[in-house]
């Protein structure tokens, strides 16, 4: 992941890190026992479909279960997907996958991204943080493809690791700031999306209906992998949790 660019400019890099350091002295993201269970309960209550797996293979099997054979998928690069080689597996198993550009991962593909996004049946993204208190997943990014992949297709799958669970929204904001400082050289990511359930409306007679504009179904797959194995975003977690 590139640390260059961003409107803060090279000279402001220290300033960004300094402000983050100040923030870290005020707030400390703490892992707490039982947080993952609380998260699972809250997210389920909000209408997310949550699954937790210890084995990477089980995560992959679950994704294949959710994505129908022959379905068109847009994939936003993320740590879990990379660690599990998800794109290859999906393709091998007959799914059409369009890999969207991630932060610092430009795509060789030419042409517009609108058509594959509008045509996709499933969007797959990662999540930098999961918020136990509110049952939210946080998606921080520079490029904006994560927002699109998590909003335009009718089904969204978010892949996260168990150690990304934090307690509150403000903890998630700190994770996002950490991500921006370490990877984007900005004080905050260009886009931060906090997603707390499937799209919904109650505008017709106060009846709750899902899937108004965003996805009707959102799967959160949590990989409870053994510590320090697999994903490549250790720097962020090490830094924030230090």
């Amino acid at each position: 992941v590139s640390a260059s660019g961003g409107p803060a400019g090279a000279g402001a890099h220290d300033e960004v890190l300094a402000s983050l350091r100040r923030l870290r002295t005020r707030m400390r993201v703490r892992a707490r026992a039982g947080l993952l269970d609380e998260l699972t309960e809250t997210m389920t209550g909000l209408g997310f479909t949550v699954a937790r797996h210890v084995e990477g293979d089980a995560v992959i099997a679950r994704v294949l279960e959710i994505v129908p054979a022959g379905a068109a998928v847009v994939y936003h690069p993320c740590a879990v997907g990379r660690a599990l080689g998800l794109v290859e597996v999906l393709r091998t198993n007959g799914r059409t996958v369009v890999v969207l550009p991630g932060d610092g991962e430009p795509s060789a593909r030419n042409g517009s991204w609108r058509e594959p996004l509008l045509a996709a049946q499933v969007g797959i993204t990662g999540a930098q943080a999961l918020v136990a208190d509110t049952g939210s997943l946080a998606l921080a990014e520079e490029m904006g493809f994560g927002r699109a992949a998590s909003n335009i297709p009718p089904v969204h799958i978010a892949l996260a690791t168990a150690d990304s669970v934090v307690e509150t929204l403000l903890d998630a904001a700190l994770m996002a700031r950490g991500y921006a400082a370490l990877h984007l050289n900005r004080p905050v990511p260009r886009y931060l999306s906090l997603i707390s359930g499937p799209s919904k409306t109650a505008d017709i007679g106060f009846t709750l209906v899902r899937g108004m504009h965003g996805p009707r179904t959102v799967h959160v797959l949590i990989w409870e992998r053994p510590k320090a194995e697999g994903t490549d975003d250790e720097a962020l977690r090490t830094w924030v949790l230090a």
């Binding site: 493809f145 906090l194 017709i204």
Partner: protein
Amino acid sequence: VKLPPLRKRIAAGLADTSADRARRVVFDGLRPRLAAARPRYPDLQDRVRAIKMEALDHLDELVRQATEQLERNGCIVVTARTAAEARKHVLKVVSGGTVVKSKSNAAKEIGLVEALEARHVQVVETDLGDRINQLNGTYGGHIIAPAIQITKERVRELFSEMAGEMLPEDPEEIVKVAREDLRSAFATAGYGISGGNALAAETGTICVVENEGNIRMLSSLPAVYIAIVPITKIVRTLEDALTVIQGASVFGVAQRIGTYASSISGPAPAGGFGPTEVHVILVDNGRRRAIAQGFGEAFACINCGSCLDHCPVYAVIGDKYGVTTHVGGIGLLQASFTSGLGLAAAQGLSLCLNCRACVDPCPVRIDTPGMHARLREQLPAPRRLTPMARAVLNLTASVPLMRAAGRAMHTAERLGVRRFAEGLLPPRLRAIAPLLPPMPAPREMAPPPEVLEPIGPHKRTVAFFTGCVMSTWLAPINWATLRVLARTGCRIRVPRRQGCCGALHHHMGEGRRARGLARQVIDAFAGLDDCEAILTNSAGCGAAMKEYAELLHDDPAYAERARALATRVRDVSEFLAARGGVQAVTRIRARAVYFDPCHLAIAQEITKEPRWLLGRIPGLEMVEAARREACCGSAGIYNLIHPEVSGRLADLLVEDLLATNPDLIVTSNPGCLLQVRWGLTRAGADGRVRVVHVMELLDRATGTET
């Protein structure tokens, strides 16, 4: 903004039973959820208020910083001083084609949709509620639930018409049709327009929250994204912005956070996905003026809509309380600055009940009723008060005059003339005539002695505030109260020349007169150092006197004395409960329902004490009513100014109370007592149930059987 006269709008609001039904469905579902959502976040209200008030205090600095940072992020920023300027800026960017728009109170305020349509730009509302209104040809009727007044049957008709076939009743099916229809708009529109829930100055971040996903669509698919953000939405940091959004979610819709909270810091980078242009229109439109005039708090509002969900007036007339661009009491305050005081004055600046039902449910704890009272004070006298209101305020300001009027009416009643006279009144006045109680005998209206000795051993000394109505037209309640106090061992001092507490005058915008009356009360109770409390049996007076410190805060001669007096004021039920209650010796066999006056329950947070005292009366069976609205509609002289709204509230209350099948209706405020009697008359049930003050029952229970 052009609107029909207020009287007509109120009548239309009251007559719209379909809207009433639709609102009630939402209230029934939402109110319990809102109450249940709060305890999880005990400090959220304080945090949100602190963030917003601090931001208002540093508005210029934050506007500067936000502008700088947004520009640094690649946004195009303009500050519009007026609505017209804001429209002009948008029209410079949008020259034709299609706009996909989200729900935005700021866009409504500046009349954006009308301006765009006049330029032949197609505007597609993408929030389902707003889309329903667009198809229905109506304005949104609520800050966050614009279709709150439209029944699901009507929604089905609208979308069936659009689809060209009769759709099934199922909301799921209607949503599918709406989704498909709006999808194509998102995919082809050149512009996306939203408001902004908050703007973080430090990083130049626009923060928006929603449940549907339409804002995410319109801020990522079209090439140009425009955010219309009032300057008072600016806060310091991203964390502050998220806290504000959480406040709006918890307090407004009982969610821990809205489904999508998006923070946007600039257009998409090269090779990214999102708008290539982001315009931020910062709107002043009277906000700095409001702050300069001491009404900035009205713009600390974070548009969660919770106040409307708890407002009795909104409950009965819906969006007719307010103007099209701004709904409800808070809306009228805002419109006074964005559209002018004249419009607000003509369109219901007199409609706030001052029941304070909106204050605690507000995530910013905005004092909307207090600001209404202050704003009314700024109106020229003829706009502020009707001739009848002026006459009543003159009357209550003078207790001797009240007494004289009471004696005259007593004589008229004895001669049978009162009924006859009422028959001659114009219909609107005749309708409220039952509010006048039957007058007590002249000897009862005579002032009590200056000192009343305890019955039995002397335990404590108190002072008693007699009030205007309570000391004259409802004097038997005062005598009952004095007897109860004497029986509990109180020596009671009743100073002369107390007068009226001034609550009615204060709320009607007669601030000068209210302050004069407050000084008179303070003078009358000066030097009663042996009294441990100043007691009142009128919830309205108690609430007003406890707020004297605020009322007289800038009067150097009285500020300190006002504060001292306010701390000594107690409602008589509050006092008796704290001193161990009463000795109830006489059985009262009856089924009684107590209802809370808003000035006692909300303003003074006294709900348990009267119930506890009544619960000690042998034989009395206490039942609780499930009340739909917090206020009976009496509200000082509100029932004389807006008898139609007030009457509807009285009807609701009486329905709720009668549902418990009581023999007695009990309360602790003169206005509420007269109001519920009026409601019973309106319901034709006045013979069935007696309405009494708590102290009248305690008087019977503590006296020996007669």
